[in-house]
């Protein structure tokens, strides 16, 4: 049943217990939010994003594309990417060779061990 607890012998998991607790916690957080002052729609200057006095650029100019989303990661691992990216030749036969080579290595690994 859905309400049963999954006992693996290593740990436990019951999604219903968490969902009930999360609903109660949401209610508590919502009550705290309600205790605050009501929302004030930003008008004029207060409605603009804070940009240290600079003019607000267009949304297109500040859009972070997928390639920039993980910039910190890709920059930190540029040595790895510098080797990996050239391997993506776009040529199907190269990819098939990689699959066959990896498969052969796995067979050798499994056969030896």
């Amino acid at each position: 049943m859905l309400t049963d607890t999954l006992l693996t012998g290593f740990g436990a998991w019951n999604p219903i217990a968490w969902v009930i607790a999360f609903a109660v916690a949401l209610f508590i957080a919502w009550i705290i939010q309600r205790m605050g002052e009501p929302d004030v729609p930003g008008e004029g200057e207060s409605g603009k994003p804070y940009l240290s006095g600079n003019d607000e650029p267009t949304p297109e100019a500040t859009h972070i594309g997928g390639s920039n989303l993980y910039w910190g990661c890709t920059e930190a691992m540029n040595g790895y990417y510098a080797r990996i990216v050239p391997l993506h030749t776009g040529c199907l036969t190269d990819y098939v060779l990689w699959v066959l080579g990896t498969f052969a290595l796995l067979v050798i690994f499994i056969g030896v061990l």
Binding site: W18, I32, K48, P49, P59, C73, E75, A76
Partner: protein, 336 residues
């Protein structure tokens, strides 16, 4: 079913009060310690409570570009998720409220939810600063999750090798100190894993040197730059509760001993003594993992943060894990 619902509902209310109160106290203590280490007097211990009360009296300005529903929902989800983490963690000798219905793997997943809510809130702010802050928060999360997972899995694996049932259960981890089942290589491995977790804590809490998503001096608050009033209060409360959760997780993994294990105290006296000892251990963790590090270091650049966690801290974690495996393979300590 009824005991589970009762525990979830009543436990959640109690734990919410405990988590927010203790979290704000810990933030006050941290600020006081940091001030004293910088030769300042520092704010009073109850300053975080005053800050929350002040924020609840301030206007909640919604930026014109913001996606209002996500902007308002994110802080609520962040606080609610932080509270539910505490339901799976023990407090002194009091076992977790939902300990029988979830384990440490769930806790690792739940630790990411407040961060993801902040990312959603930042992206919904309609501010370039907040967008960059959200991007950095995601990268930070990617960076510190691996060493955290390594430490947890290594400890659970070693307990399993020693024949301990349910090694991922928080009840098991709280009642079975892993130090008791390891030999010399295992002790060195555990010290290394403790070091890794001590460094994961400031990243989980977005504290210096891992406060790159907020970066006051360059992003003016980053993903929180457009937040004010009650929503900022909720994010602050979420951070306070998460601080309790991270410190408790470290205590459970590495310092699970209770005072009553050594001194024959029973009943309420024993529970209070264990609670006092637990608070002492949490303060110890906060001092070394939060206050000391943030006073002694400057902020990492985001790419340095990834290099640091995926390079040095992961290497330390892996070395610790290999030593624990060797400990069991060589038959040092307890092996089933």
């Amino acid at each position: 079913m009824i005991p589970m619902i009762t525990a979830a509902v009543l436990g959640c209310i109690g734990i919410a009060v405990y988590g927010m109160f203790f979290g704000l106290v810990l933030q006050g203590v941290d600020r006081k310690w940091a001030a004293r280490m910088q030769a300042r007097y520092g704010p009073p211990l109850h300053q975080p409570f005053i800050d929350i009360a002040k924020l609840l009296c301030k206007d909640n300005i919604i930026p014109k570009n913001a996606v209002k529903s996500v902007f308002n929902a994110a802080p609520v989800i962040a606080l609610a998720a932080s509270i539910t983490i505490l339901l799976y963690l023990p407090i002194g000798s009091i076992m977790p409220v939902l300990g029988g219905w979830g384990d440490i793997i769930l806790v690792i997943y739940l630790l990411t939810v407040p961060g993801l809510a902040m990312v959603a809130g930042g992206l919904a702010s309609g501010s370039p600063y907040a967008t960059v802050g959200s991007q950095r928060e995601m990268v930070t999360m990617i960076a510190y999750e691996l060493p955290l997972a390594i430490a947890v899995v290594a400890i659970a694996w070693r307990l399993n090798a020693a024949g301990v049932a349910d090694p991922f259960s928080l009840v098991t981890l709280a009642q079975t100190p892993v130090w008791g089942v390891v030999g010399i290589p295992g002790i060195i491995g555990l010290l290394l894993l403790m070091l890794a977790i001590a460094w994961v804590t400031p990243a989980e809490l977005s504290r210096v040197p891992c406060d790159t998503p907020e970066a006051e001096t360059e992003l003016c608050g980053g993903l929180l730059v457009e937040y004010s009033g009650k929503n900022l209060a909720l994010f602050s409360l979420s951070g306070a509760v998460k601080m309790v959760a991270m410190a408790t997780l470290t205590v459970v993994l590495f310092l699970p001993w209770n005072l009553t294990w050594f001194i024959p105290l029973t009943g309420a006296v024993g529970i209070v003594a264990d609670l006092a000892f637990f608070v002492l251990k949490v303060l110890l963790v906060v001092f070394f993992s939060v206050s000391l590090i943030r006073v002694g270091m400057a902020r990492f650049r985001i790419n340095h943060l990834v290099t640091f966690y995926w390079g040095y801290i992961t290497l330390i974690g892996f070395t610790g894990m290999i030593l624990l495996v060797l400990d069991a393979v060589l038959g040092m300590g307890v092996v089933a």
